[in-house]
């Protein structure tokens, strides 16, 4: 079978050959854009209306925003987001990096261990939350286990303590995501030229110095990527809290995404829910814009150097 060259074929074939790639790229892109941009605009619009159970389009100005900002829920939610965001991103990054460094020592069974550490990521947040809610429950989980071992005064009841409960979410979320951070860091460590390690050894650098001066700068871009991915994980956290603490004790562990859902679907206040959602989007931009600026700066610097 002889292949017809584009020049010799009939016109419609040329046309398909030219337009097919465009269609494959542009049609999904436009649909996606319509979904993302369209619904974002719609939600933003709703946040300025009097919508309650159903969307309505009577202008209400900033009324919903004022009402949302005045609730105690949103205040607790954003304080929690800061505590949880810093705690979770810090802990997951730290544990992930340590695991990666340990795995990088050319140990036996690396594949198995890597799979085990990465496994939590394959578990849904709801399952993670439910399992940890049992583990952390003082009457059923870790506290009871240790007490049964003989340490009768052992206390680990953070989940029922409104001041500490947010850290139980940090623990569960870090357990969930540390393996993911480990996988990225491991890839970064592997990309460092082994000759550098040898050179450092010859120059008499100890392991600490080697990691601080050579490895960390080498994997800085990966570390930034890990931080940004984990941070946007943190901001949109919803199902983990829902399954782990239900936002409680009281409303002590509520997060912005829970507040949005609560207003929209449980209280039937679409306007206020949309306002909370727009606030959430703005806080996401707070993270993504600096990253974008950093990426731009890096790209420009690389172009200038290379």
């Amino acid at each position: 079978m002889s292949r017809a060259g584009p020049a010799r074929g009939p016109g419609w074939r040329v046309w398909i050959g030219k337009s097919l790639p465009l269609a494959v790229i542009w049609v999904p892109l436009l649909i996606n854009a319509a979904h993302v941009v369209g619904f974002t605009v719609w939600t933003t619009w709703l946040s300025f209306t009097t919508s309650e159970l159903l969307p309505e389009y009577d202008w209400a100005g900033l009324r919903s925003y004022r009402a949302v900002v005045r609730t105690e829920n949103i205040e607790i939610a954003y304080i929690n987001l800061v505590l949880y965001g810093v705690g979770f991103v810090g802990l997951a990054t730290l544990v992930g990096f340590l695991l990666a460094v340990l795995l990088d020592q050319r140990i036996r069974g690396e594949n198995l261990l890597r799979t085990i550490f990465l496994y939590p990521l394959a578990v849904s947040f709801v399952v993670t939350g439910t399992v940890w809610s049992w583990l952390l429950n003082p009457g059923l989980g870790i506290q009871k286990f240790v007490r049964n071992l003989g340490w009768a005064d052992f206390r680990f009841d953070w989940i029922t303590d409104r001041d500490m409960a947010i850290y139980t979410i940090v623990i569960a979320a870090a357990w969930h995501a540390a393996g993911f951070a480990m996988a990225l860091f491991l890839a970064g460590l592997r990309s460092i030229d082994p000759d550098l390690a040898k050179a450092a050894q010859i120059d008499g650098a100890g392991p600490l110095r080697y990691y601080l001066r050579i490895v960390l700068p080498g994997i800085a871009p990966i570390a930034i990527a890990v931080l940004v991915i984990l941070l946007q994980f943190a901001i949109k956290t919803f199902d983990l809290v829902r399954a782990l603490t239900g936002g409680g004790p009281g409303i002590a562990t509520t997060l912005p995404a829970l507040v949005v859902y609560d207003f929209m679907f449980q209280r039937g206040q679409l306007g206020r829910g949309s306002a909370a959602a727009v606030l959430l989007l703005l806080s996401l931009l707070l993270v993504l814009l600096p990253y974008y600026a950093y990426a731009q700066w890096r790209a420009r610097r690389e172009r200038a150097h290379g």
Binding site: G139, G246, R267, G268
Partner: protein, 427 residues
């Protein structure tokens, strides 16, 4: 062409009729009901399935599409159906949400069948108001639960030498103190919002029924900040101190085994707990069911009811189905069967509960309902979204659940916060 086909069909039908063949129900279709609810399993599922069977026995077609899980998921489906212009003939909906939702889609006027059944005189005025929000009956209640109910573990009572249920909050506090001293968790509970919300409504209803009506149901600013409200929060602080400290975000039923063993003494819960206890294999004889403490000396009834709203449909078969369903739901025998399945009590106040199919707990609740109906001391539940629309109940429960879990908040502060939350939710 068209008319010829119609002739042909008519001829065929005529032939079928002549031949004595039982033709398909044509042209008159059977009454049909499309229904959505969250009741898919357990005793609720069994009860609604029983109602559907009854409808089929009366010649109807029952098409139930359950949306299991939280009530909100069912309501999201309902919202989507309404937006699409395709609401079910009837759906689960309760309390003030009936008034809120009937503004977004047309509903069926049930005045005629309700009047024919003489129903309005038989049920508490508070319920009547919820089901005819704009002066017409558009929804019907199916069953009633008493919220202010106390369940006592008889083994735990025996350990402290108690023989009867506490009648007042002072007696309750005394019994709880004795139980605590004997190493028993005085109050069995769960860690979910509505569980916390219920504790306040039971306390307040037991301190002043009229203060409850004015403060919680009518949101009268004076009653919201009144002395009874402060006293209720003070009682709630005591209850919170006696609660099981290990219930974190878990349903109260998870911790019921402790109660059944006598490691926990008292459960403040709606009448449905009886069915849950039975389901867990608990012996009803080990448990004393009574009205929650009441300082005013005469019973009041904090009411929770499940209802159905009827959505307007153009199809003749659905309209016939709606009328048939409404007629059945108001019947004594249907309500009896329903309540016996779920452990609730019938909506009608003229049902005899002396038969063996009813438990002592149900009889006690029904007697209290009848008495409160006569003395006009029926109240609507806050935590179960009967007293206020969702946004206001949710805002109030935020304050209550925070109060329970944060003992640095004083009752006076809680009262101020509650009034503030109501203002904000309404604003």
């Amino acid at each position: 062409m068209l008319s010829r086909r119609r002739d042909f069909l008519a001829g065929a039908a005529g032939m079928a009729a002549m031949a004595g063949i039982p033709a398909v129900a044509w042209p008159q279709a059977k009454p049909r009901v499309t229904f959505i609810s969250q009741w898919s399993a357990g005793s609720d599922g069994a009860a609604i399935t029983g109602l559907g069977k009854r409808l089929e026995e009366e010649g109807g077609i029952w098409q139930h599409s359950p949306v299991p899980g939280f009530t909100t998921e069912m309501m999201n489906k309902l919202r989507a159906d309404i937006i699409a212009g395709n609401p079910p003939a009837a759906s689960q909906l309760k309390g003030p949400e009936i008034a809120a939702w009937c503004k977004i889609a047309p509903t069926v006027d049930l005045d005629t069948p309700v009047a024919a059944a003489g129903y309005e005189k038989l049920i508490p005025a508070e319920l009547v108001g919820l089901h005819k929000p704009q002066g017409h009956w558009i929804a019907l209640p199916m069953q009633v639960y008493r919220i202010n109910t106390i369940f006592l573990s008889r083994p735990a009572m025996a350990r402290v030498g108690a023989t009867k249920a506490p009648a007042t909050w002072a007696e309750f506090n005394e019994l709880a103190t004795a139980m605590k001293a004997a190493g028993i968790i005085p109050v069995a509970n769960g860690g979910i919002r509505w569980d916390d919300g219920m504790k306040l409504e039971i306390a307040l209803a037991g301190i002043g029924a009229e203060a409850y009506r004015a403060g919680i149901m009518q949101l009268d600013p004076k009653a919201l900040k009144g002395p009874e409200m402060t006293a209720a929060f003070a009682q709630l602080r005591k209850i919170a101190g006696w609660m099981d400290p290990t219930t974190a975000a878990q349903h109260y039923s998870v911790h019921l085994p402790k109660f059944l063993k006598g490691d926990a003494g008292m459960l403040l819960m709606g009448g449905w707990a009886q069915g849950v206890i039975k389901g867990l294999g608990g012996k009803i004889d080990d448990i004393l069911i009574a009205a929650a403490p009441q300082d005013e000396g005469q019973p009041c009834f904090v009411l929770n009811a499940d209802s159905m709203i009827f959505w307007k449909r153009p199809e003749a078969d659905l309209q016939a189905g709606q009328l048939l369903l409404a007629k059945l739901m108001m019947q004594k025998d249907v309500q009896e069967k329903y309540s016996q399945t779920t452990g609730s009590i019938p909506v009608r106040t003229d049902v005899d509960l002396s038969g063996p199919a009813w438990s002592d707990g149900q009889r006690d609740a029904a007697a209290a309902l009848i008495e409160a109906f006569k003395s006009k001391r029926v109240l609507l539940s806050l935590a179960h979204n009967m007293a206020q629309p969702n946004q206001i109940s949710a805002a109030m429960i935020d304050v209550i659940t925070e109060f329970i879990h944060n003992d640095k908040v004083s009752p006076e502060q809680a009262v101020a916060r509650l009034a503030q939350a109501v203002d904000n939710a309404r604003g």
